[in-house]
Assembly symmetry: C4
Homo-oligomer: 232 residues x 4
Amino acid sequence: MLEELKKEVYEANMLLPKYGLVTFTWGNVSGIDREKGLFVIKPSGVDYDKLTPDDMVVMDLEGNRVEGTLNPSSDTKTHLILYNRFPKIGGVVHTHSPWATSWAQAGRDIPCYGTTHADYIYGSVPCARNLNEEELKNYEWNTGVLIADLFEERKLDPMAVPCVLCKNHGPFTWGKDAHEAVHNAVVLEEVAKMAARCEMINPDVKEAPQCLQDKHYLRKHGPGAYYGQGNL
Amino acid sequence: MLEELKKEVYEANMLLPKYGLVTFTWGNVSGIDREKGLFVIKPSGVDYDKLTPDDMVVMDLEGNRVEGTLNPSSDTKTHLILYNRFPKIGGVVHTHSPWATSWAQAGRDIPCYGTTHADYIYGSVPCARNLNEEELKNYEWNTGVLIADLFEERKLDPMAVPCVLCKNHGPFTWGKDAHEAVHNAVVLEEVAKMAARCEMINPDVKEAPQCLQDKHYLRKHGPGAYYGQGNL
Amino acid sequence: MLEELKKEVYEANMLLPKYGLVTFTWGNVSGIDREKGLFVIKPSGVDYDKLTPDDMVVMDLEGNRVEGTLNPSSDTKTHLILYNRFPKIGGVVHTHSPWATSWAQAGRDIPCYGTTHADYIYGSVPCARNLNEEELKNYEWNTGVLIADLFEERKLDPMAVPCVLCKNHGPFTWGKDAHEAVHNAVVLEEVAKMAARCEMINPDVKEAPQCLQDKHYLRKHGPGAYYGQGNL
Amino acid sequence: MLEELKKEVYEANMLLPKYGLVTFTWGNVSGIDREKGLFVIKPSGVDYDKLTPDDMVVMDLEGNRVEGTLNPSSDTKTHLILYNRFPKIGGVVHTHSPWATSWAQAGRDIPCYGTTHADYIYGSVPCARNLNEEELKNYEWNTGVLIADLFEERKLDPMAVPCVLCKNHGPFTWGKDAHEAVHNAVVLEEVAKMAARCEMINPDVKEAPQCLQDKHYLRKHGPGAYYGQGNL
């Protein structure tokens, strides 16, 4: 069942240790088959060097395990809500990558200080507030709801802002598929690192001008994009 | 004698360089057989790339060498006191891992800024004061006494707070066995790194709300835990 | 066509991931044949582990692609302007290396704090201002013009100051050929890292005395140089 | 001639890239045969991956090249002065290792904040002032003189303080032989890193108490030392 997608999600999971984004099992990747309405996710707490494609767990969008013997990632409900609320995304990643997590712990949006950020993320990386005691009772579910509500409130397009920080916790990223979601997790970690250092070098630094942000984002995205090799 | 435990403690020691926690010989791991009342510890000052399981030294809880020709770690008496005073622990680690040591040198507790910390450590990582001139005469022994007294004073459960910083020195961590003690040493280093960066990003940062700390710690520990695969 | 130069530029490109200067495809190297008036550059958005010498694109100094089927780097026009305005340079590098980019985002020149800097770069590393909205319409072209104009205004010799920061963007470096340009990109990243840490350690730090800067630069460059093995 | 020593010095040089202390050729190690009054040093500007034991250059203590076809390290005169003025040392290292160099650029002594430092270095790591314009005329020679004079002025024992920072330049370390000098270069880099981070975590941090510094230094050095395996 969904063998292709399981392989793809497995490979995307294995990129997390490759790119230095996870310690132990502190991360998970999922990918969705929109036609079937099923998504595939890493099992909970399984070491990356023991993981196989067959360990992947298949879930439906109501949160039922459809295939697999292992428990799905403890963050599965957050993935589920993101798939439900962001209909264009095809993959989701959660990590505790150190720089992005440091910003999340600091409880701050990451301002756009340069083109590395602007090439992939349109505007600041938003930081979602903490859940309150009531919301914590259904923690992972409400984490997803909080993220999606924040994007609605701020009128953010999840395809233009493919990431979020959850206060005192860490980042979630997404993309058109599991691989792009991992790609964005790497970008976010680099952007978080350089933004922190940039503020250290110049505490009065201002965000990049809007016209530069527009230019760089549109150089890579949309009908006028001219970066790369087109459909190569 | 205790061949299984010697192998286990040897392997746990070898994880220290693997995880980047030690420079030269600045670290040691021990593990205890509670039934026999004997513990196994790394010899002092032996290079990790020359270490073998047979080099491990067997000690009793009065501090006598029971087996082995090499001198035990110079920190052996600290391990001994921790085994005596914390009856549930099965392994102890000491390193000079750079971020945890920087906090120890700074003489500060590490506040709980996020869920990476809360998943493993309940509340702040305590920092024990310096020994005075009198206490320094039996340095390693009194280091252990100071740690255990601090846990009593602050009413901390060593199984819920599996680590401590010794001021101007470095961290000790522990766990149910030698491997878990090393695992906690890795966690502590990540947590120390992210807490320092988090304060750099937001000097006015506050600790994570207590309800979030409770939620995350209990997600992984205790009867209601739902992270991972149970007994897998 | 230009097989030797294509190989050289390919190899110089492959040094960027080796030295940890690029994430994904965030960098490009070119090299020029001054006699033929042609330069060779990395194709746009191609992964380093898939790159071959044959993928290199040959351009003339009017910006026409003379050989190659792939699109040249999106930064090609900046390279072109630098070759036109700095007639002694033979290679150009652009990266988003993290420390240099953090300074670029901070919008500050990098002061010369020591001999590591002075050995290669005479005086501060200049930071060029942002382009305005009008200039952004021909972004990469005007980036080159802005850099060259800045060197004229400040009366800087591009052979003595082989690098620049572009505000909110990142560094460009150059040299007598593609390899030396990469060498200078590595130097700049080290210098940027140590300057940031140096200011962290001593916020009141002053630049190295002019006489020391002169001494070190001339120890390696010009007729009285005595570092190294001469023509070895 | 001195084949054993050349091999030893070669191997010690090769440890610099292994421990991440050098970029390109920014470092050199020498070792001395006190009976013959000759020392062996790395040639200037030769890449580490091309270096062989036969490339090592043999010098006498008047600064004459006794054997070898390559130019000795440009810092040779500094090594020479240190051998002349510090009669117990057997090896000298110079690097631009990033954290130690950041302190040197910052122009500050490194205070002793903990036992990692106290285990190897008794008291602060001293930072020598800049040379003036006159002294710069015989730069490398006067660098050595300045270091040795500083140790005399401050009444420091070079065997107890096996390192120095040269303002706006970088560190020199030494030891009983070339390998110990490299060992101390690694220690210094770790100590410099942790001291900088420690001040970031607690800007009001104080030095470790003198009694702790004494205890740790004497645990490893002198007649009462009990760390390690004795003569193993």
